[in-house]
Symmetry: C2
Subunit: 222 residues, 2 copies
């Protein structure tokens, strides 16, 4: 396959087309697949998007930069990029994945985006990779979300209480129900100075605590 | 401070000494501290150590590469590097941190190593940073652990069972005890084909499950 449309969208022309072909080969199609390249691309993506944010947001704190980066490089975001690059049409997938529509699966698209980043690095080096990522992420970097909106509920609740000089909330598991693999965690979030309590449940302690924290925020900020 | 010994150990001479000074400034000492540089250095470290491993270990799977990288860049490993570089003697710390021995704290040393990586990048660019990290990690890259030894107990148990064509183990929380913030999770690990059970407890579900898995491994591999 020539992949001309893809390389035009990336703004990068490969010297060695085999590197690109490998980046587009899912493990279901061949032993010459892209999984090691995914690993390489994932690390470079974190480093380079971090650097782009570092320069783009000179006032952002370390925490804000971390949250912004996490929002840009998470699987869903990469899958949207993979979709826009129409990677589903360019990938080499085994017949099982093809039949089951694997080319539309978020994880396969996101992994292929990471492998593509590695391919540009292996073929063209760091500066070419950085330039390609600056292009691919340009719109997103120009329209960054408010970092505060990316904070999780437990963090937001803690900051809300801190701003009112109130003590930290307490979380506790009340009970765990259901058979293994389908257990439900029932937790509470309690404000020690007022004894206000919110309860929530979820498939993990973490999820249940986030829900309870959100309920407490809703109670405090009606 | 001239930091001549430090730059000799790093094998990198800074054009702008202020960048190095900032990398060595903890938030307890000045508003011109190194926290944003930590963020930048952490991402570059992951990307570059990943690339060094990618080339060093051409047969390693993605999972092995991930485990090897995690072992090289975790806080304890970076603190050892910070100690060897004698960063405690070179850092700018506030009086509180100085009195409490903060210069010996693993987290402060590890964060300063990350900030140093950012400093080399901002001052000298990617290739200089890569060369410096290849030097700093040279011994560790020449003496990599067996990736299998880095797997956690749940993973090792699952692979052990898989090799014997046995079904996956089941984990379940039996009960949660204690006041909030000091809760103990009691869990079991059960083999569904033989009804063998091991129980363990811990301060989180994850920790307790890892312990129960290790007990089950000990039972199966006496």
């Amino acid at each position: 396959m020539s992949h001309r449309r893809l390389t035009q969208m990336l703004g990068y022309e490969f010297r060695d087309p085999e590197i690109l072909e490998r980046a587009l080969t899912h493990r279901s199609a061949s032993s010459g697949h892209n999984e090691r390249m995914e690993f390489l691309g994932d690390g470079l993506l974190n480093g380079i998007v971090g650097e782009l944010l570092f320069h783009r947001c000179p006032k952002a704190t370390e925490g804000d930069l971390s949250r912004l980066r996490a929002s840009l490089v998470r699987e869903e975001s990469l899958a949207v990029i993979g979709s826009a690059l129409k990677l589903g049409d360019e990938m080499n997938l085994g017949s099982g994945e093809l039949k089951s529509g694997g080319f539309r699966r978020a994880s396969i698209l996101a992994d292929a985006v990471e492998a593509l980043i590695a391919a540009v690095y292996l073929d063209g080096g760091f500066e070419q990779t950085r330039a390609m990522l600056a292009r691919v992420f340009e719109d997103r970097l120009n329209n960054l979300p408010d970092p505060a909106s990316l904070k999780d509920a437990k963090t937001r609740l803690q900051e809300l209480l801190q701003a009112q000089a109130r003590p930290r909330p307490e979380y506790g598991v009340e009970r765990v129900e259901g058979p293994p693999h389908k257990q439900r965690f029932h937790v509470h979030c309690r404000l020690p100075d007022s004894d206000e309590i919110e309860q929530a449940e979820g498939s993990s302690r973490r999820i249940a605590e986030q829900r309870a924290a959100q309920l407490m925020i809703d109670r405090l900020e009606p």
